[in-house]
Every structure is written in structure tokens, then in C-alpha cells.
Amino acid sequence: MAAFAPDLPAREIARCVRAGDLRAADVVESAFARIDATEPQVRAYLAKDREWAFARAGLVDDRVRGGKPVGPLAGVPVAVKDNICVDTMPCTAASRILEGWTPPYRATVVDRLLEADAIIIGKTNLDEFAMGSSTENSGYFPTRNPWDPSRVPGGSSGGSAAAVAAGSASVALGSDTGGSIRQPASLCGVVGMKPTYGLVSRFGLLAFASSLDQIGPLARDVDDAALVLEAIAGHDPLDSTSLPAAARKPLNGAAADGDGLPAGLRVGVPREYLEASVDEGVRRAVAAALDALRALGATTVDVSLPHTAYGIATYYILATAEASSNLARYDGVHYGRRAPGARDIVDLYSRSRGEGFGAEVKRRIFLGTFVLSSGYYDAYYLKGQRVRALIRDDFEKAFARCDVIAGPTSPVTAFRLGERTADPLKMYAADVFTVAQPLAGIPAISVPCGLADGLPVGLQLAGPPLADSLLLRVARAYESARGRFPGPPS
């Protein structure tokens, strides 16, 4: 096997491949060797494509040999969450309703990865249609946390987080609607970032809640996350909600802006986060991270996000409403599963959907249909939209007093499989610190900040709209002060 590579930073892989010191084909070979070694236990992948990966790697190696330029992710093995379309691989969103479907097009983020000469090695497991916080809602199988296979990797991007933690992908793409990148990153001890809404194109992402969904990177460190985000960010004419190019600052350059924290950085600590129910080990690790930020020269300031306690209620009203509409497209007519023997067209829709969707998806379609239905719309949906405005205003007021907001990503470390599946409300409670940022449209990043009883804890940093490069810089400064974060025990 090649001298490698799953454990090298992505930027190192790209640098070595560009310099001709490492062949992309050897990188891919070692990535698949790692997949073979870890997958029987972790099960992070729903699909893999060795042949395509080697073909792409060959093209990159040919260009290097020919003295031609290669992209910033040259030869980097990337895993893509299976709700993002790649036109050469099946795409299921972990739902039985899409079993066997290969999309006729690919997502803009996938085009951008390929333009950057990344090697897409497979599609990762998730909670069905990204609805869940543990990857146990996958219609195929649960993914296990590489730190402890009796525990969940978090969700919904649990496969992406587990693959990066296990070293079976160098970096990965996830999607975040209410914490689905940051929470699994926290539980698996990797970096995960939800960018500002509109920074990254959603074209080719199977929509869950369109006003919240955002694609972002998972990586083993902040610089790798920045490298991937830089590659995928930018305006896309195919997604009219993607922000104009002028709105965005260079992200990968954030690291080059200067080392360490910006002078006089004010870190807001919301008092509601301190009052919330948080595991003692998580509380300790996050407090130590705040100490580290102060030691780097930051000032911590007391701020308030008074509507924190209403976040989950608001999120589950609005996200399910949008989902009930978005998932109407899975109808047994255009693609995916069709139930046999239907009497008429409505029967065909209902039976195909009844057979194809899992319990959590049905639950959310039901709730979303209810809050949008005649007679309940004003009492639930409209109210949810009003509270959403209050949550956004909370952040606006807090950011008048601070530059970034810090706290835990998740109130708990990785929980055991089956521990929360019986009670949906208990599962939803895992999202307490991660639903408000998508509601406000602001960026947030989770960075590993220590262990509690041998399991990773994530520090979450959130910033105002388009403060993505500032967040990366602060996260990177914290990461340097923290030192190397251990990988999962092998």
C-alpha cells in the first residue's frame, strides 16, 4: 500500500499530488483499503464507486505528469452525503422510496468538487431524508460511531462524520437543516460547518426544508474544512437563493488573514446556554475551551438569546411544514418506488408513499401537513414564522455586543443506539443548540474541544451572516491552542 494518506490532511494530499510526490491513484487505493478495514464495523457508506474513483485519479495523475495544472483538492478522497446528487451513483437519501434510483444530473457542489480535482469515493448514510439526529432513521442500516460502536455517530450527516472520523474519507460533504452537520461532527470528534444560508448552492440537494437547508464540509481540522468550503461556495444561477458572488469573502484565505485571533475579539456566551440542561463533561470541556479563547486574547461577554427555549418548537413547526411540501414529489410516478396494484392515481401516490417512507418521515410529513392545514395554519405555521423573526432578532442584538457566540454544539456526547428512538421528543431535544442558527440563516461551526468519558465534545461558534471567514479564523486559532485532537481508539 502507498505511503499515505487517509491520515494526511487533505491540503497535504493535494500538495503532494500536485508536486508529483504522491499519486492520486495511490491515495484512492489507500482510502479504499481504509474503507475495507473500517466499514464492517462503522457502516458509513451507502454506495462506493472504486472504478470511477480510480478513473478520476488516473486523469489527475496524467495531468500532473503532463505538467498541467491541477485543482486545490487534487487527489483528495471525498465522501458525499447520500442526499446530494451524483449522476454516476445511486442516490437514496437513505429512503426505501428511492431505492435503486440514479439521478439524471448532479449537484453544483459535486461539479465544483470535480473541478477542484477531488475524488468522490462514495455516498454516505444519513437519517432518511436528513430527518434525525442519530442516523438510526436510515431506511437501510444504522451507522456506528468510530469512537464506540455501541453509540450513534449523531445525525443526520452521521455517515459523513463517521467516515471522516474513521479515516475512510479525507473530508466529506453534509447538509445541515437543524444541526445535521454540526451535531454529528461534535459526536464524532471532527470539524463540521454550516455556512451562511445562500453561500453554497443547493442545486442537486434533495430538499428537506428549503429555507433552512445548507450544504457544508466535515473535516478533521479547520483548514481542511475551509479548503472544501472555498471549493464549493459561490453563486449558482441554478439556485436563485444562492448569494451573489459579491457578497462573499474568500474563505480559504481566512487562515492567511493572520494567525491567531483578531485583536479585541469579543466572544459572547449566552446565559441561556449556561442555564440549559447540559452534561457535566460537556460543560467542563466547553468551559475549558472558553478559557483557551481568553488566553488567546479574546474577551468573553455575557449575552442573552431570550428565545432559545422556543427554538425546537419553532424549528419543528417550520421544518416539517416545508418538508411536507418538498416530499410531495416522491409520488411513485417520476422516479423511485411504485406500489403495485393501485386502483387509481391517488391510490398509487398513497400506497407508494406509505410503503416507501419510514416512521420518522411519515411523522414529520404528518406534523407539517397539520400545521399548514386549513384551520391550523395561523395557530401554528404563522406563529412559527413570527417566533423565527424573534430568534433572528435575538442574534442581531447579541452580535451588537460580540463578534462570535460560543457554546456547546450538543448538550450530550454520543448516546447509545436505541437510547432515544422510542420517544421522538427526546431525540428532538438533542438539537437544542443547533436549530436557532439555520432559523436565523447564520453560519456556525463545531470544533472538537475535548473528551468527556472518552467521547468527543464539540465547541460551537456562531457568527453574523457572512462571518464565515471570521468563524474559520477563530476556530483555527482555538484549534492551534488546543493542540492535536486524538482520533478514535483503534
Binding site: 410516478v333 387509481d344 410529513i365 406563529k383 432559523l439
Partner: protein, 99 residues
């Protein structure tokens, strides 16, 4: 709020979800508990608060009506269809006899 069988049937029809009796019973119980939790928003005085629809200011995007960039050919679009004809998606009867 109490979720009765009639409301569950109504929502199942609106959602186009065929559910068996056990699923309906479970959904009725779960929906009741979830609604009780989300009704927390009723504690707030929302008088005069503008509903927030979208996280960033957006405006309509206009352009000339001509093909450009992404274009999905019919044959490619039909490839994933569970049942198809030469040029379309095949579905069972939409209108009943005599309609």
C-alpha cells in the same frame, strides 16, 4: 390538542399516505405529544411581530426565456420512471369511468 381518528384520516388523505391501523394509532398519540410540545410558542406575545419567511433578503430573478445551462433531455428524465411509455410517465386511470 386531542388528535382523534377523524383528524388522522383527514391528515393521511391530505398527505397521500396509506397507513395501517397500528400506524394511525401511533401517529395519533405521537402527534398529540409533539403538538403539546410545539404549543410552547403560545406562551409568547407575538402581537405586531412580522412573520419571517426566509433567512436572507431575496428578490425574484428574471431572465430572458431561452434555454441555457442546465437542460434535462426527455429520455434522461424518463430513465428513472417506474413505468413509462415511449414519451411519458405511465400512470393508472386518473378519471373514473364515465367521467
Amino acid at each position: 390538542m386531542k388528535i382523534d381518528a377523524a383528524l388522522v384520516d383527514h391528515l393521511a388523505a391530505l398527505s397521500r399516505l396509506a397507513l395501517d391501523a397500528a400506524e394511525k394509532a401511533r401517529l395519533a398519540a405521537e402527534l398529540g405529544a409533539i403538538l403539546e410540545a410545539v404549543e410552547k410558542v403560545n406562551e409568547l406575545d407575538l402581537e405586531g411581530v412580522e412573520p419571517m419567511v426566509f433567512p436572507v433578503p431575496i428578490e425574484n430573478v428574471f431572465r430572458e426565456d431561452e434555454p441555457r445551462g442546465f437542460c434535462l433531455e426527455r429520455e434522461r428524465a424518463l430513465e428513472g420512471a417506474p413505468e413509462r411509455t415511449a414519451e411519458g410517465f405511465r400512470v393508472p386511470r386518473v378519471l373514473s369511468e364515465g367521467a
